[in-house]
Symmetry: C2
Subunit: 208 residues, 2 copies
DNA sequence: GTCAGTTTAGAACAAACGTTCGATTTGTCC
DNA sequence: GGACAAATCGAACGTTTGTTCTAAACTGAC
């Protein structure tokens, strides 16, 4: 958080935190402005509307994740070309940017990124698709090259299942861990969790 | 759907369909009653409140899925005991009941079951946990027996990731397939999709 | 100090929400 | 056929929603 002082940043941070916890449609502007300590009208003044606020949040977070994914992929291609990139490297390049700040206390970033994928807020789906589809297609190429025996539609489906694991992890692990205190200790280390996710997804992608 | 005629069933079906598409918090009683072709007050008359309606839906669907899971597991234990149950069989026993009716036209059941897991409607989380935790613990035992080398917390985490794949598949595959028409054809067969999901999850659970 | 431009404050808006109520219709037994 | 319960209906309840408006407070340049 780092406690920014200007009103727009206070609104964005509060909105991200509340959206991550309660969902987008279920969070009102009054809750956001109360949490941010600013006036109700400030949202419409700075962002035009609730939709505008959401779009700005998407730009700030989701787009950043996707750009980081593409950069990581570009680095891998530069490193391995013309050889195919190992599947674990590809998977990690895709998953790690979304997991950033996962272990930090009170960081709503990963939970919000997860919720972005699954909250069907009207008009946001197209925006998400527009930002995500190019990334998916960009990864499917190198993925197909290391897994030539897997048919394209099947590879698409498996990538889709990997997405589900990531989103579920981002959105719900914290809450679920609270009910399994015995497991919570072992699942505290974010690097370890990322390793597990990468291993799980890579094995699922290449199985049989 | 089978077009039931009595009002409560019409409400339940319409609510399930709309909840699956737009989310629970984002769907109003007026939309539900309009879609069902009944009066607005009918919801509160038959179910007491919107919460009551949701609880009834959970009972009707989520509980049924979990009971089917336990029955499938019991059948496997009777078949294999005292030998450990193969991991693919275990995974399929867990995933198949939720995927039921997946390929049927206009069946909101799987999408709704998926949404049940991820929509943070107040008070529903506890109800879901109460119905799901016993099932999870019931499966973790046999799972641990076929994967003795995997530490318990790690096994819990991998099961969690499998849940994510399932939920994402149930909730979003239909919509995502619409944007990938080339893949939509190959992903039409629900049995094939279930096989892929089982293979993906089983490989992820046992990897390394 | 003054003035233009930007930001914030409080109050109010129409619309939509879940819920409640009394009247009306429907169905069923005597 | 009349009577009683169950079900449906239309209308309204009080809240809460996102949004808008105008006045007040602040900011920096001259």
């Amino acid at each position: 958080m780092a406690a920014p002082c200007d009103t727009p940043s206070r609104i964005l941070d509060a909105a991200e935190r509340l959206f991550a916890d309660r969902g987008i449609a279920a969070t009102s502007l009054r809750e956001i402005t109360r949490e941010a300590g600013v006036n109700l009208a400030a949202v419409n003044y700075h962002f035009g509307s609730k939709d505008g606020l959401i779009r700005e949040l998407v730009r700030r977070r989701f787009s950043a994740v996707n750009e980081a994914r593409l950069e990581a992929l570009a680095r891998l291609e530069a490193e391995y070309s013309p050889a195919p990139i190992p599947i674990e490297k590809l998977v990690r390049a895709f998953l790690e940017p979304a997991m950033r700040h996962f272990g930090e206390e009170d960081s709503a970033f990963p939970r919000f990124v997860g919720r972005l994928h699954l909250d069907p807020y009207p008009g946001m789906l197209q925006e998400l698709r527009g930002a995500f589809l190019p990334v998916l297609e960009r990864f499917l190429g190198p993925l197909q090259r290391v897994l030539p025996e897997v048919p394209r539609p099947v590879l698409f489906l498996r990538t889709f299942l990997m997405m589900g694991s990531l989103i579920h992890l981002l959105s719900n692990l914290r809450k679920h861990a609270e009910i399994f205190p015995a497991c919570a200790d072992a699942l505290r280390d974010p690097d370890r969790i990322l390793d597990e996710l990468v291993g799980f997804a890579a094995a699922g992608l290449r199985h049989d």
